[in-house]
């Protein structure tokens, strides 16, 4: 029996056990929507395609399964671009379907035609333009495979309307065979032994753990490795939660706004064990002065990440989970008590802190600490981008993988809230909170109605400082305090806005209202909640290693 291309798409998604799809309709995808109408999976209609792709991304990060998106040609597809790039930078598995004009019209500047494969080529792991309906099911099978294996990432499938409307026999391939794509999972045993030898003889080792550890579900193996070796762990922004930040061997986050002790330990280290991390410039600062005395072991599934920014002594290409599992079988602990004492002293001397007299406008850091306390550290925290993101990273203590969801590599404002919707759909058992800035939240606020419609009780905690705070901080520190176009206190009333959408709105201006407001929000379970926290307007994020500088240039606090 022959079925249509649109039906084939739905059949393939069923075969892939897709639970939820995110998207927005338009002319050339009506045939697909026609079939989705009766599909057994949930479809979440966003109010802007960017909302759909970020939601799919949040779903993927919270669940570990690929997020699936559908949008129309032309503007529908271009509205996805930021979301695809966001997922690409952070290695998030997505399968993105875009409609395309009729094959016969491609290249003719047809109505709502854009070159989707051209536009998404540098921001996707792979992409396809379907040219023959008989390739459709194979392409979908390959897309799910490519998106979720190796170093994951978004795959785009551009489907011309005549393919959706065409007919053929449906056959879903059992397996894929792509000549040029054979990810390596097993680490080289000789390299693993060498690495273990180097670790055992090191005296100042540090584990630098990244998003790859979360992606490969290697958190258990990492914990075992630390238990066996006693080596302290710092994580990247995207690596948070792989190792409990409440443990004494955790140095928490490193990098531009990382803890003093994490950055100092890296700097003084004689052996950095990088696991699923990529030496991003927000981590390294000035590359010439980064880890000047350390040998480097780098475990990563992506060979292109190895020796890209920092030359590596022992590269191990493979899956973090497998490689750590192998190492755990043979590793012996190094002798590092002196090193640990030294680190503990740094922790004591330079803890993460902020000044809080308890008077005046509320300190944003205090709010994050209270959110942590009131949720018992059990929530999934999404963030926007800017100061809000950094305070969330610093003052919420993450103990479980996939509990912190944030746009790291691209730093996309407007990511957090739609991602929170996706995360909540993946984890209905969890409270999901978007820690937001008053700037970022306005970038995808239209998605509020989606949360209201589906009774998704995401809490949006706006740290409202009336500024594009992070940019203002740079202007204050490096551009003579000229606040050029960063003051945004010409703002909507967020409580009324929440109410207009049918969400709950709470305004908090006094410190003693913080706890009751969070408690009240946590009691609401049938709709989204905005808490508008009016916070100190010119608070800065510290410590700060200025861009392109080294640890010794760290700014610890405001110089009054």
């Amino acid at each position: 029996m022959k079925i249509s291309g649109a039906e084939i798409i739905v059949e393939c998604l069923k075969k892939e056990n897709v639970e939820v799809m995110f998207g927005y309709p338009g002319g050339v995808v009506i045939p697909i929507f026609h079939q989705i109408f009766n599909a057994p999976f949930k479809f979440i209609l966003s109010r802007h395609e960017q909302g759909a792709v970020h939601a799919a991304d949040g779903y993927a990060r919270a669940s570990g399964k690929p997020g699936v998106v559908l949008a129309t040609s032309g503007p529908g597809a271009t509205n996805l671009v930021t979301g695809i790039a966001t997922a690409y930078m952070d290695s998030v598995p997505l399968v993105v379907f875009t409609g395309q004009v009729h094959s016969a019209m491609i290249g003719n500047d047809a109505f709502q035609e854009v070159d989707v494969t051209g536009i998404t080529r540098p921001i996707s792991k792979h992409n396809y333009l379907v040219q023959d309906i008989n390739d459709l099911s194979r392409i979908i099978k390959e897309s799910f495979y490519i998106a979720s294996t190796g170093r994951p990432g978004p795959v785009v499938i551009d489907v011309p309307v005549d393919i959706s409307n065409g007919f053929t026999r449906f056959h879903y391939p059992e397996s894929v065979n792509i000549k040029g794509y054979k990810p390596v999972y097993e680490g080289h045993s000789g390299q693993i032994e060498k690495a273990c030898g180097l670790i055992e003889s090191s005296s100042r080792p540090v584990i630098y753990s990244g998003g790859g550890v979360i992606i490969s579900n290697a958190s258990e193996e990492l914990r075992t490795f630390v238990k066996k070796t006693g080596i302290p762990v710092t994580t990247t922004l995207l690596g948070m939660g792989a190792y409990p930040e409440t443990d004494s061997l955790s140095l928490e986050m490193l990098g531009m706004h990382g803890t003093y002790y994490a950055n100092r330990a890296m700097h003084e280290s004689d052996l950095v064990i990088a696991i699923g991390a990529r030496f991003d410039d927000r981590v390294t600062g000035k590359i010439d002065t980064f880890i000047p005395n350390a040998k480097v072991i780098h475990i990563d599934i992506d060979p292109a990440s190895v020796s890209k920014n920092v030359l590596v002594d022992i590269p191990i290409v493979g899956d973090c989970k497998k490689v750590l599992g192998e190492m755990n079988k043979i590793i012996q602990p190094p002798r590092i008590t002196e090193w640990i004492d030294k680190i503990n002293q740094w922790k004591k001397d330079h803890p993460l802190s902020y000044e809080d007299s308890g008077k005046g406008r509320i300190k944003p850091q205090y709010i994050v600490e209270e959110i942590y306390r009131q949720t018992g550290g059990e929530a999934i925290i999404c963030t926007e981008v800017g100061q809000n993101q950094m305070w969330a990273a610093q003052f919420y203590k993450f103990t479980e993988p996939r509990s912190f969801i944030s746009s790291g590599g691209l730093g996309t404002m407007g990511y957090g809230f739609p991602a929170a919707i996706g995360a909540q759909l993946a984890r209905p058992d969890k409270r999901v909170i978007d820690i937001a800035g008053d700037g970022s939240i306005q970038m995808n606020i239209q998605e509020l109605i989606v949360a209201v419609q589906h009774r998704i009780p995401v809490i949006i905690a706006i740290l409202n400082n009336g500024f594009l705070g992070m940019v203002r901080q740079w202007q204050q520190l490096f551009y003579d305090k000229r606040y050029s176009h960063t003051c945004i206190n010409f703002a909507p009333d967020f409580v009324k806005l929440a109410e207009a959408y049918g969400a709950a709105g709470i305004s908090v201006k006094e410190r003693n209202e913080v706890i009751p407001a969070i408690k009240k929000a946590l009691e609401i379970t049938d709709r989204p909640i905005i808490i508008d926290f009016h916070v100190a307007r010119e608070e800065n994020v510290y410590p700060m290693v200025p861009a392109g500088k080294s640890v010794k240039d760290t700014i610890m606090r405001d110089l009054a």
Binding site: R121, P122, K125, N127, I178, K179, G180, Y181, A304
Partner: protein, 163 residues
Amino acid sequence: MKQYVISVKVENKFGVLARVAGLFSARGYNIDSLTVSTTEQDNISIMTIVVKGDDRVIEQVKKQLNKLIDVIKVTDHSDIPTVQMEIVIIKISAPQSKRAEIFQLGEIFRADIADISAKSITLGVKGEPEKIDNFIELLRPYGIKELMRTGRVSMVKETKDSK
């Protein structure tokens, strides 16, 4: 900056040329030459890319090329024994008085006389890139009106220990 010759075996699929070229252009690299050739195998093409660059960046580009789904294999031909060939077509001013000399030069390089007009001669030469460089330099004094090189193709030499 060193000149690199990189050979990229690819699946002959829609968009593969753009993917490969895009990796260079995204880094601001100007490709000196790029040829795409069919091979003894169906659906498999080989691209020979000549590019100048900095060691580490080229190393990175090679890894990124390997990451492309449609790329099957990347081989660096810069420092290994290879057979390399390219073709040049060159049109030069050729008044009657100079023609004999030009024909003679052509003969030494086994050039084809592709076209002759009242004022010009067009020659075609194939061979190793260095040979072509030399040929062009020798013809330069006559006045080059138009010149085109195909870009090279490069194949690894069968040596005693190669299987």
